[in-house]
Structures are given as structure tokens and as C-alpha cells.
């Protein structure tokens, strides 16, 4: 009996191993690709293949706008293109790259670009764009890895100071009181703070508090150099810490809101540091709320803000890159970007669209003005982990030591910047 079983087990094992080997062997030869050097190919592929465009949509408005724009282009160019909405974009992209069947074009965030550029998944095409010089320089820099301009910024947002008009007037403040320096911001925040309301709401993350670091002349990575423990960075965090302690600034989570926009909408705070997306959220959830948008007050080293953007990533394995490039030029044209902006909020990434955007959104100009001096979160490979770690320490900034926190961030950044 036992011998029978052991023989059977051996047989089963042998069969499975043989099967596995056959399958893996197929996998090896079937999917193997000629290795091309990352970042150096400038020759684009061209074929009659249809294009697949993978986007991460904020809602129906965005999906419809992109679908319509791509359909227009298809009608003109005769190339079929299909827009797909991802449930989990990083995961679906990774699957596509691993299987060598990625979408031809896709939304790509700056924090993912180094990883994909490093493993050769991306086709750099920035220098081939006809409208290359029209993009804001800071956005081009955002998508440049190792001196290669990888992909066209599709749009962008910046952070600004959002103020509740009613609460502002109730506190006896006028337009002339709009803060332009840290001291003035502290003063108005104090004036607006009551027992059940904070002056200024923030999210507990570098993506908001980083503005103070920038305004004091610091940041995380500036011009490719980690400067997390520089004097400016420390001064910026100390400023935020002081006012978190005295209660005039508050984290949205501590106010019982998911993000600063919600705290602002529920009037748990009279001001908030948020980006362009807050306008859509307020229109949807708090349509009666009146607010104004001002540039963030300047710190000791001048004005500062952070920009957030995505680009149109192009796959190195795409069989029809020539058509994809043409589609990107269409999607980043002034006319198309203004239509996107009207449909779902963010600002056009090209300078020639600025006058039209300004006249269409006179109340939101502060966001666009930030483009001139905006910093952006670090894009080094592995930077996401460092920022996540930083954010986890910022949650307890009130009781922490800014110098010590930034010290660990600096050493983490230096480890990946080598």
C-alpha cells in the first residue's frame, strides 16, 4: 500500500514538473523580446495597428471628454483607437508591460516614470513633439529622466490658498487682508480660528506641507540634489509645526474630514491649501459655498507651491508609435486641452493656452500663476517609498522634531539618488 502511494506520488510529481518545464519553456521562447537600450531609441515604429489608450478617470466627465477627443482624431486620421478606463492603473500597466502587450498610450504619473524608464518599458518621444517648446519648462523638467524628455505633460494642477468668503467677511476681513507673507497668513488664520473651526486645513502629507518647505528655500530634491535637511526645509516644517501646535492650522483628518477640501466644504476650516481639483469637488458637494482662490503667501525665500501632473506615456512595445505621437499632439493641442479643462478641471500644460484659460476662469488665475515657481515631488526611482515614509512621520509632526524627521528623509533620498 505505502509503496503504491509513494510510486504514485513520484509519478504525479514527475508529471507536474515535466508540465511545468514544458510550460515555462514555452513562456521563455514565446515572449522573449529583443532587448533594446532604454532611453536611446528615437526611431518610432509604424504600422496599421489600432491604438489602445488606457486612462485612470476621475469620473464620467473625464471619460467622455477623452473618448470624444480620441474619436475625433480617429475620424481624421483613419486609425482606430480605443479608450479604456483602468480600475487600478499601475497594476494594469504592469501586467501589460510584463506580457509585452501594453496599451500604446496611457496616463503616467511622475513618480512611476523612473521605474518604467529604467526597465525600458517607455518610449521617450518628448523631443519629437511639434509643440515641444510650448510646454511649461517646469513640466518638461518633471518628465525628464537622465536628460531625456520622456513624455508630453497632459495637463497640470498647482496648490493655492482657498478662502471661504462668508467666514472671511464675518471675521471682519477684507480683500486687502489676503495674506502675502507667512506672518500675514498666521495672523488671518488666528483671526479665523474659533472653538469649532480651524483657520487653515491641510492634509498630513508632503504633498501639501511641501509648499512651506519650498517657500523657505528648501524642498526634497531640487535640481537633482537631495536637500531635505537643508535649512529652508527645516524652517518650513517648523513654521507648519508652530501653527499646528497653536491650533490655527489643522490636519483634515483631525477635523474629522477625509481631505482638506471636505473640511473646507463642511466649514470645519475657513481656509485650505488645495489644488485645482477642489473646485469640482466643491461644485458637486457644496454648491452654495462661496470661495476665493489666492496665491500661497510667500515665505522667507519667496513664493512657492507644488505642481501635480500626468503625462501621456508611450509604450516601447507599441507597434504603432508614429500614430500614437500624432494622437498625443492632438490631445495636447490648445483647443483640446481647453476642452478638457472645461470638462474636468486641470489646467492646460502649454503656455499658448494660458490667455484663453485665464479669460475662461478669471477666479482661478492664482492656480495658473503658481506654474512659474512651482516645485514638484521627487521623481527618482524609489522616491515614492521615501515620500510615503516621510508622510507617515508628518502625521505626528506636532510632537515630532522637524530636524530629525528631515534627517531620515535626507538619508533615504541619498540612498536612492546614487
Amino acid at each position: 500500500m505505502t509503496r503504491h502511494i509513494s510510486r504514485r506520488l513520484a509519478g504525479t510529481g514527475a508529471l507536474l514538473v515535466a508540465g511545468a518545464l514544458t510550460l515555462t519553456a514555452c513562456g521563455g521562447s514565446g515572449f522573449e523580446e529583443p532587448a533594446d537600450a532604454a532611453g536611446e531609441t528615437t526611431e518610432l515604429t509604424s504600422s496599421d495597428d489600432a491604438l489602445t489608450v488606457l486612462i485612470a478617470s476621475s469620473g464620467d466627465a473625464e471619460t467622455d471628454a477623452v473618448t470624444d477627443a480620441v474619436a475625433d482624431w480617429s475620424a481624421d486620421s483613419g486609425v482606430t483607437a480605443d479608450v479604456q478606463v483602468a480600475g487600478d492603473l499601475p497594476q494594469q500597466l504592469s501586467q501589460g508591460f510584463a506580457a509585452s502587450t501594453p496599451p500604446d498610450l496611457f496616463y503616467l504619473s511622475p513618480d512611476a516614470i523612473s521605474g518604467y524608464a529604467e526597465n525600458g518599458s517607455l518610449q521617450p518621444y518628448g523631443d519629437l513633439l511639434a509643440n515641444k517648446d510650448d510646454f511649461y519648462p517646469s513640466l518638461v523638467e518633471n518628465f525628464t529622466v537622465d536628460d531625456t524628455f520622456y513624455c508630453a505633460p497632459k495637463d497640470f494642477s498647482t496648490l493655492a490658498l482657498v478662502i471661504n468668503t462668508q467666514l472671511w467677511e464675518d471675521a471682519g476681513l477684507t480683500d486687502a487682508d489676503t495674506p502675502t507673507t507667512w506672518e500675514e497668513l498666521a495672523t488671518v488664520a488666528e483671526t479665523l480660528t474659533t472653538d469649532d473651526r480651524a483657520g487653515l486645513a491641510l492634509s498630513a502629507e508632503y504633498q501639501r506641507l511641501g509648499v512651506f518647505m519650498a517657500e523657505a528655500g528648501g524642498g526634497l530634491v531640487v535640481d537633482g540634489e537631495p536637500v531635505a535637511d537643508s535649512e529652508g526645509s527645516v524652517e518650513g516644517l517648523e513654521y507648519a509645526q508652530t501653527h499646528l501646535e497653536d491650533g490655527t492650522f489643522a490636519y483634515a483628518a483631525d477635523l474629522g474630514a477625509g481631505w482638506a477640501g471636505e473640511a473646507f466644504g463642511k466649514e470645519l476650516a475657513a481656509m485650505a491649501v488645495e489644488g485645482n481639483w477642489i473646485t469640482g469637488a466643491l461644485t458637486n458637494d457644496f454648491p452654495d459655498l462661496e470661495y476665493t482662490v489666492a496665491e500661497l503667501p510667500a515665505g522667507p525665500a519667496g513664493p512657492g507651491t507644488l505642481q501635480f501632473t500626468n503625462c501621456w506615456g508611450m509604450a516601447a512595445d507599441s507597434p504603432n508609435q508614429q500614430a500614437a505621437l500624432d494622437l498625443v499632439e492632438h490631445l495636447t493641442s490648445a483647443e483640446q486641452q481647453l476642452a478638457f479643462s472645461e470638462a474636468f478641471g486641470p489646467m492646460p500644460s502649454i503656455q499658448s493656452a494660458a490667455p484663453d484659460w485665464t479669460s475662461a476662469n478669471p477666479d482661478l488665475v492664482a492656480f495658473l500663476d503658481g506654474a512659474e515657481y512651482a516645485q514638484f515631488p521627487p521623481t527618482l526611482a524609489g522616491a515614492t517609498d521615501v515620500v510615503t515614509d516621510f508622510n507617515s512621520q508628518l502625521e505626528s509632526l506636532e510632537t515630532g522634531d522637524p530636524q530629525e524627521i528631515l534627517g531620515t528623509v535626507q538619508s533615504n533620498l541619498e540612498a536612492i539618488a546614487e
Partner: protein, 349 residues
């Protein structure tokens, strides 16, 4: 057994009525073997290879330009001293506390519920069984969302606590460790140097002893709530398999209900207990969907678990080898824990 009986009659003769059985058997099991092989064994072997390779996520991991890097990926999360190691240490710490709390609590609660609804005198047993089992059938994503609402700062739980005169914590946004908070209440704000200066995997001993964070505690309550129903079913099945005779004999000997439960019922439930504990250990060490839908590791990384860290390293940071290495370390931990638990629960003679 059939083979043993058949042998004397057909000694020496290789042919017979049962000759085709082996082949038939293989044909019948072949579909399952193929499915398991293609969808389990091969992926597992490929993942094992990835954990020893420098595969970057592009193209097949078996192509010729993917190199063997030995234990580099394992070293990155265990000995390199960098951020990756600390993240792994933090994830292990969080999950260890989670396991330590969830497994005993859910086992005790499910056994208690099973004994309750197994009693013949209880009216409407079916209703109770369904009610207790209901959370187990609901998708964990739905329950997580429900939990986020219940435990929000101004949510139901805090409203109830406020009625009782207690100011509830900011549940899913509170990264402070429960044990640290208790010590803090006793006036101990920071640990002795012996604990704060040394540590394991980049996390100081003092931080290992922080206990689950307030946010993780909410997940602990949720896990106990959702899984107790499933394990209750296992215990009910176990209880119904027990004959009444031993129990009656004990009753004749004058044992009271409490004694009969501990001395008669529980020892007989040992196989069921083993199953429940094993399933509990595996499930709690692999906790992922609650984290993915709920907190993504926050606040302050206190709900980061090895399973979620593995996903994060691979899919978000493009460190595929490291992600696979974490998964295999987790696998080894689960196997070791199961063996240990089997040894503890062994029959003593």
C-alpha cells in the same frame, strides 16, 4: 486495501479486471492536475525564480536578459539597513500584533458562539446561526467600507462612546500604538535605552513593543467580527460529531457543565481546533484586501502588512524581485507557525 485483498488470489498474474483502473484514475485526475499545475504550481515556481532574479517587470521573467542575483532581494529586506528593511520590519511588527490578537479572539468567540447555538434548548437556532454567519458571506471590501464609516472620527462608534462619556479616538487616523498609549497613561513616555537603542530589522525593540496602532485595532475588531461566523460553523460540525455517551458518563460521575466543557468537550474538539487555528494563522498573516481598500498602510505605516508591502514593492515601486522575496518570507513564516502550533497541539500520552 483492495490491492491487499486481491493479491493472494491473483498472485503472479499481472492482468486482471482492475488493470485499467490506474490509467482511468489518472485520466480522471488529469484535468485537476493540469489546472493546478498551470494556475498554481507554475506561477509559484516562477515567483520563486523572480525572487532570486533582477527581473524589472518588462517582458517574460524567463527571458535571457533577466539575471540571477542570488539572495540580493532577500538581503534588501532583511540585512541592508535601508528603507526597504525598515518597511519590512514595520510590516512584520504590525502583522504579528494583528495575528496575536485576532487568532485567539476569533477562536474563542467562534467556539463560544458554536456552543451557544448548538444547544438543543435554544429556540430559533437557525436564525442565530444565520445571523452569526452573515458577516462571513459579505465581501470583505463591503465590510471594510462599512468599517471606515463606523469608525470615522464623527462615526457611530465614537457617537456611542460619547454617550458613555468617553472621547473616542480618531480611529483610522491614529498611528499611536495601543501599548505605548497605556504606558503613556501610566506616565512612561519613552522606553529605556536598552530598548530604544537596539532593534531588529531597523525597528527598535521599543517600537516592536508599541502594540497594534489604534487604526490596526479597528481592523482586529473587524477580522474577529467577520471570521468568527465561518469558524463557528466548523466548531458546530465538530460538536455535532461528538457522541453524547462520554458526556453522559461524565454527568453520571458528577461533573458540572463547566468541567464537562473543559475536560470532555474541548479535548475531543482538538482536530477542529487545529483546523481553526491553522486557517486563522494563514488568513491573518496574509491580510491584504482590508488594507488595500481601507488604509493603504497608513496612518504612519501602522497598518502596513507584508502582503500589502509585497504588492506595493512590485506593482508601485517596480521592485519585483523584492516583492516576491517578501511573499516567500511570509510563506516560510506561515509554515513555521503552523508546524509550531501542530507541535503544541500534539496528542500527549
Amino acid at each position: 486495501m483492495a490491492a491487499l485483498v486481491a493479491t493472494p488470489r491473483r498472485a503472479g498474474s499481472p492482468r486482471g479486471i482492475r488493470d485499467g483502473e490506474a490509467v482511468t484514475g489518472w485520466i480522471f485526475t488529469l484535468p485537476v492536475l493540469l489546472i493546478l499545475g498551470v494556475f498554481m504550481l507554475v506561477p509559484v515556481l516562477m515567483a520563486l525564480w523572480v525572487s532570486f532574479s533582477d527581473w524589472s517587470g518588462r517582458g517574460s521573467p524567463l527571458s535571457s536578459d533577466v539575471g540571477f542575483v542570488g539572495l540580493d532581494n532577500y538581503a534588501a529586506v532583511t540585512t541592508d539597513g535601508g528603507l526597504a528593511e525598515r518597511d519590512f520590519g514595520v510590516a512584520l511588527r504590525n502583522n504579528a500584533w494583528y495575528v496575536l490578537l485576532v487568532v485567539p479572539l476569533q477562536t474563542a468567540l467562534s467556539l463560544f458562539l458554536a456552543v451557544l447555538v448548538n444547544r438543543a434548548v435554544l429556540r430559533g437556532r437557525g436564525v442565530f446561526r444565520t445571523a452569526f454567519y452573515f458577516p462571513s458571506v459579505t465581501s470583505s471590501v463591503a465590510i471594510t467600507v462599512l468599517w471606515l464609516f463606523l469608525f470615522s472620527t464623527s462615526g457611530v462608534v465614537n457617537a456611542v462612546l460619547a454617550r458613555l462619556g468617553i472621547t473616542g479616538p480618531n480611529w483610522f487616523n491614529d498611528p499611536s500604538g495601543v501599548l505605548h498609549n497605556l504606558l503613556g497613561a501610566l506616565g512612561v513616555q519613552s522606553g529605556p535605552d536598552a530598548l530604544t537603542q537596539h532593534g531588529l530589522l531597523g525597528v527598535t525593540w521599543w517600537d516592536w513593543l508599541a502594540g497594534p496602532s489604534v487604526a490596526m485595532s479597528a481592523f482586529v475588531i473587524m477580522a474577529v467580527f467577520t471570521t468568527s461566523g465561518t469558524f463557528m460553523l466548523l466548531f458546530i460540525a465538530g460538536l455535532q460529531n461528538l457522541g453524547p455517551d462520554v458526556d453522559e458518563a461524565a454527568m453520571m460521575d458528577g461533573a458540572n457543565g463547566w468541567q464537562r466543557f473543559w475536560r470532555i468537550t474541548l479535548p475531543q474538539l482538538r482536530p477542529t481546533l487545529f483546523t481553526v487555528l491553522t486557517l486563522g494563522l494563514i488568513g491573518t498573516w496574509q491580510v491584504f484586501d482590508q488594507i488595500y481598500t481601507g488604509t493603504q498602510g497608513g496612518p504612519g505605516k501602522t497598518t502596513l502588512t507584508p502582503a500589502y508591502l509585497s504588492y506595493q514593492s512590485a506593482f508601485l515601486s517596480q521592485e519585483w524581485g523584492r516583492g516576491a522575496a517578501i511573499a516567500f518570507i511570509l510563506f516560510v513564516i506561515i509554515v513555521l507557525m503552523t508546524i509550531l502550533q501542530r507541535w503544541i497541539l500534539r496528542e500527549r500520552r
